[in-house]
């Protein structure tokens, strides 16, 4: 490898690095300097006020000028609050609210986003057998993944809790979380890989089948088994997440409750259902909701492993195809809106749940 040939690529890497340092460093600096500066000024003001109070001999806070000062300070604090909220609001407007409104608008228009077509794009979703399959597949995903991933995470968390080598056991199941979806998909694509009988198998699953005396299968070709096999990948990734959160929740159960239950003579089955589960219920809900939302948006796994072929397609993948590959912005937007509508109930449930907990 000639260094000179790689120079442009290295330069690009260097630029990336520089940009990273500038942005991240700049932000950290901003977050550090501004509050310090504000804090310093306030401290100085307080010292000055105290000096003045000491000099004049009157108590602070009761005189008219002091009231005025406090009012002014309150006003500046409002400005400060606005100053901190505004960037976030602005970014939300640009990045979330405006695109959402535009997407909803586009979903009622034709492929170029020019003429209105009414509800035709939504009719299309539910009248094309291929697209109905896409919606059904997404529903299968969203039912199975949160359920199984949370169950596995919960069982695992309970089993390894306070066991020997707990940290190692947890790290083992948490590891897949660190792998990107695309990386995980490529790994699993190899697991499911098919070679004909006379060839040496390169896929783990088919090798196991051959060892057991069976014939190798085209795992990713046959619906509906292939969708289930793709779901396994997401469960593999998400179970670690569920385990970590639930394990933390289990550890947070007050010892006295556990001890009291023990004194009452519960067995481990009763312990789990009567003590552990009720105590960690909020955490379980958070995990299920988070995984559900993530599952509804699943895209990378399907795209990498089958590209939606063999009847494994899901809404997010079809939405991208329609809008960006086929130039059907109306149909793509309608699918995006459908996805949005499907997420809303879950989000509402989550928010209500959070609020109830705060009130309790």
């Amino acid at each position: 490898m000639e260094f000179s040939e790689q120079a442009p690529k290295l330069a690009m890497l260097l630029y990336g690095l520089i940009a990273f340092v500038v942005v991240v460093g700049g932000l950290l600096l901003f977050l550090d300097v501004v509050p310090t500066w504000v804090g310093d000024r306030r401290l100085q003001r307080q010292i000055k006020a105290a000096d003045r109070a000491a000099a004049t001999g009157t108590a602070t806070g009761t005189t008219a000028p002091a009231k005025k000062r406090r009012k002014r300070r309150k006003r500046t604090e409002v400005w400060f609050a606005l100053g901190f909220i505004l960037p976030a609001m602005l970014l939300l407007m640009i990045g979330l609210i405006f695109p959402a409104i535009r997407t909803i608008g586009l979903s009622f228009r034709d492929r170029r986003g020019e003429e209105g077509v009414g509800l035709a794009n939504y009719e299309w979703i539910f009248s094309q057998p291929e697209i109905v399959d896409v919606v059904t597949n997404t529903l299968i995903w969203v039912v199975l993944v949160p359920l199984i991933a949370t169950s596995i995470g919960l069982i695992y968390a309970v089993l390894v809790d306070r066991a020997r080598g707990e940290a190692f056991a947890k790290a083992l199941i948490f590891m897949p979380m660190a792998i990107s979806f695309v990386g995980a998909s490529i790994i699993w694509k190899f697991v499911y890989a098919y070679r004909s009988e006379e060839q040496e198998q390169i896929g783990l699953l088919n090798q196991i089948v051959v060892w057991l005396g069976g014939t190798p299968q085209q795992w990713l070709l046959n619906a509906p088994l292939n969708t289930l096999l793709l779901i396994v990948v997401l469960i593999w990734i998400q179970a670690g997440f569920a385990m970590v959160i639930l394990s933390a929740a289990i550890k947070a159960i007050p010892d006295d409750i556990v001890e009291a239950a023990r004194l009452d003579g519960v067995n481990s089955w009763q312990m789990f259902w009567r003590v552990t589960m009720p105590s960690i219920r909020p955490a379980v809900i958070v995990v299920v909701v988070t995984i559900s939302i993530g599952t509804l948006k699943v895209f990378d796994i399907v795209r990498t492993m089958t590209n939606g072929n063999f009847n494994t397609n899901v809404i997010a993948n079809e939405m991208y195809n329609q809008a960006f590959r086929y130039g059907e912005s109306g149909q793509g937007s309608a699918l995006a809106v459908l996805l949005f509508i499907l997420v809303i109930p879950i989000v509402i449930y989550q928010i209500r749940n959070l609020r109830q907990r705060q009130e309790a």
Binding site: G25, Q218, F324
Partner: protein, 448 residues
Amino acid sequence: MAVFPRPRQAFAIAGAVVLALTAAACGDGDDDNNAGGASGECAAYSAYEGNDGKTVTVYASIRDAEADLLTESWSQFEECTGIEIDYEGSGEFEAQLQVRVEGGNAPDVAFIPQPGLIERFATAGKLKEVGADTKKAAEANYSADWLKYSTVGGKLYGAPLGSNVKSFVWYSPKTFQEKGWTVPQSWDDLIKLSDTIAGTGVKPWCAGIESGDATGWPATDWIEDLMLRTQTPEVYDKWVTHQLPFNSPEVTAAVDKAGTILKNNKYVNGGYGDVKSIATTSFQEGGVPITTGKCALHRQASFYANQWPEGTKVAEDGDVFAFYFPPIDPSKGKPVLGGGEFAAAFADRPEVQAFQTYLATPEHANARAKLGNWVSANKALDIANVTNPVDKLSVQILQDQSAVFRFDGSDLMPAAVGAGTFWKGMVDWINGKDTSAVLSSIENNWPK
């Protein structure tokens, strides 16, 4: 909350930020000192003068080694005219180009391989008609067959750049010689040869249509090649423009004809398994079993020459080579299926048009060909400049006056079909769905 416990740390970071900014600012200082160059070599570029110091941005799907060769091919143009060509290649070109154009961030020039996409941008008023000089160069160097694919509403939107020939069957000349097989000249010979090979216990054909998010495209090329062989070029034109329904008897017959090879378990899939394994075998690996003798024939475009394992000699007397996919009915002529990209422009500044004109000239075609791995339909391309044997054969076929050239049909259809339902339909077809169900589904999804 203080991120940095001591102010000194904050200053150190601030210092680093300032340094970084300065370094970034220094980065672009050294690009502008190359105008002029050797004046003798630059005589040919006098027509493009007067644009010194201008920049033309180019966006295309060509990447890595191929992109390096491409940028090298116009380096002299850059030196002599002082126009800087800012090239960017992307694997997500088709999707990203639309995003960039709609976002008001269109490149000056894009090398678009889909005439369907050119038509869409042209009718939306995004593309600029080529200048008079470019038009003159394009008409002088390319046949009308080619230019019609970048002409919309009587206006020319770009000259062809690179081309490829898809009507090829790859084989191993060595194996053919050992076994006494000969290159078939007709469809019947091809089937006879396939039966002979199958008789020796080897599956004659191998194929692979898995290609990431473009899975299915190699199978659509099969169908197009067979449409051209079972029907006249005029019927083919009607099919790609949807004047002929996708599930009409003509198309069904062509697909079934392809099925006599692709869905025949005696013929496929040499080295990989049964018919269904075609769907999961990658396009890159599709023909590789030829090198190990597990398969003998692989229908794939000229650019498959780059996919062979290292050390494979690609030549008429080498390990692998290609022959012309023979016609079925000689009375329908010698059909050639191919593809290529067109240099279309989203801007009409003089330097952009100068670059477009240069790309259409024999000077560029020959300069690029000399660097290797290149086929162009440019009539003035000197075949002596084409280095590798498959490219030579491709150029010969493209320059053959008796050949009837047709562009890859899936690139002419609307993207929803040509890059969507047609691809997916072929995957289902390989996976066992029957022809009429597949074609009806594609027909029903044709955008209205």
